[in-house]
Assembly symmetry: C2
């Protein structure tokens, strides 16, 4: 427990400090997310409990695209000594990456569950219009790139909120470019976005599930992308690419309807990323024999 610390590579949400609750890691591969205030924390916990045991969720989808859930734990907090706070215990999605590069992308043109009260809807609509959510079906909420030498490039909060379409394209290129290269060389695009096991192939597998699944509507959830810049530099291969859904405080029941809002945004993200990496064709046309 003494090793608990805020993750260095965090790009979204509050950072744990003397004044604020925030996620912690312990170096053994676990990630502790403080239960959010109001009913959000309870709601996210209820989702993890339902999802992790739901018989209609394919094991392959759960294991590939979601953090594993290990229950909850009361942890002491810096901000309120003597008042331990409940935390969700999850897999640390970036564990084992030597030079972890991460992007957090909130999916969906609509970020409010349909049952939300009117003032919350109005607030979210204003935010969704003020960012790229309505226009693109997603918004980038944070990106952090490191290189094997430890140089770091990251988005700052006010700047990332103000991104327009061109800015989103730039930052998605920056995510797969050498940190040292201001010109955004996209040197890692083929390895990270393209190819077998790359981001695009994983997003397309996720899309196929969203075309069918009617269990959950993932309002305001994010897709977290991760890869290891050191592994990519060493092998040129996919370098531990991860594509994970996170942030489930606003998930609603699907009730037999697909999550068209998440699916649309996911398709838009796929198009943006495929515009960056010209793919090699997956199958060759057959010539005359």
């Amino acid at each position: 427990m003494s090793d608990l610390r805020p993750p260095e590579n965090q790009v979204g949400g509050h950072r744990a400090s003397a004044n604020k609750l925030g996620p912690l890691i312990d170096g053994s591969g676990l990630f502790y997310k403080p239960l959010q205030a109001g009913d959000r924390g309870e709601h996210e916990l209820a989702f993890y409990e339902a999802f992790s045991t739901h018989s209609a969720v394919p094991a392959r989808i759960r294991d590939t695209f979601f953090p594993r859930f290990h229950g909850t734990r009361l942890l002491p907090t810096e901000s309120r000594p003597g008042e331990p706070h409940p935390h969700l215990v999850l897999d640390d999605l970036l564990a084992g990456l030597e030079a972890p590069c991460v992007a957090d992308i909130k999916i969906g043109a609509i970020t409010w569950p349909p049952s939300s009260p009117e003032p919350y809807v109005a607030k979210c609509v204003a935010m969704d219009r003020g960012t790229t959510s309505v226009l693109l079906g997603f918004r980038v909420t944070g990106v952090r790139v490191v290189d094997p030498e430890g140089a770091v490039w990251r988005t700052e909060r006010p700047e990332v909120k103000a991104l327009d379409t061109a800015g989103v394209r730039r930052v998605l290129r920056r995510y797969v470019s050498s940190v040292a290269d201001e010109g955004m060389d996209c040197a890692l695009a083929a390895a990270v976005y393209g190819g077998k096991g790359g981001v695009l192939s994983q997003l397309r597998e996720l899309k196929a599930w969203f075309e069918e699944q009617t269990l959950f509507h993932f309002y305001s959830a994010s897709i977290l992308l991760g890869y290891d810049a050191s592994a990519v530099a060493a092998s040129g291969g996919a370098g531990g690419v991860r594509v994970k859904l996170v942030d489930f405080a606003h998930v609603a029941e699907g009730d037999g309807v697909i999550d068209h809002n998440f699916l649309g945004g996911l398709c838009s993200l796929i198009k943006f990323i495929s515009d960056i990496v010209p793919e090699t064709p997956q199958t060759q046309p057959l010539g005359p024999s």
Copy 2:
């Protein structure tokens, strides 16, 4: 010109009368849609002009899924004698059907272009939440079914606005059921929704285009379904199934982004319809030779 009359099978929009402008047909296969007030009419005209000559729109998509545009014409109107009104001249999408059955489905959880002024957004959000648009990604705005003997079943306005998820399922079953059968036998589901040239196969072709096209965002547009109950009864075949996009007063430029909002709603509609007709597999698995 003397044959101009309101179409019998109209299910959406205003019906032409002594007090109101509404669409007219002339029996020769043309459909005259009065230009709407304000900038909506000009906007829809501008869309038809841009779309019908756009080199990046595949001819197959334009011809299959959109009404052909024949320019505009000034027509006398009952409501204001001596003041001819400009009309869009389009193909009558139901021409040639002996017993035309039609469904109008407004696609998208969001029906307002992102550039809309705030009061219009608030009005649309309220309407989209009050109907099934936000929940399902589409709403049914009208259905009319006739049988070869001329019996008619149709939705009424207040009732169709109040449909919930179960109501949408019912009305999509009603659309392919015998008029005389209150139990909704779905007798025509396999012929109209399933099979080669059926609604599902056409919607899937449209979906493939929407996964790629970044030219237009079709806010508040509808998919019009049509088929001929007489032809289906006679042949058991697809019976002139039509799948067409209509109503383009709120189309926005795509600017390199896919129409994730229309695409999401389209995928949801595909799922609803495929839940009604259990399809025969399109390809047989290969056995050992």
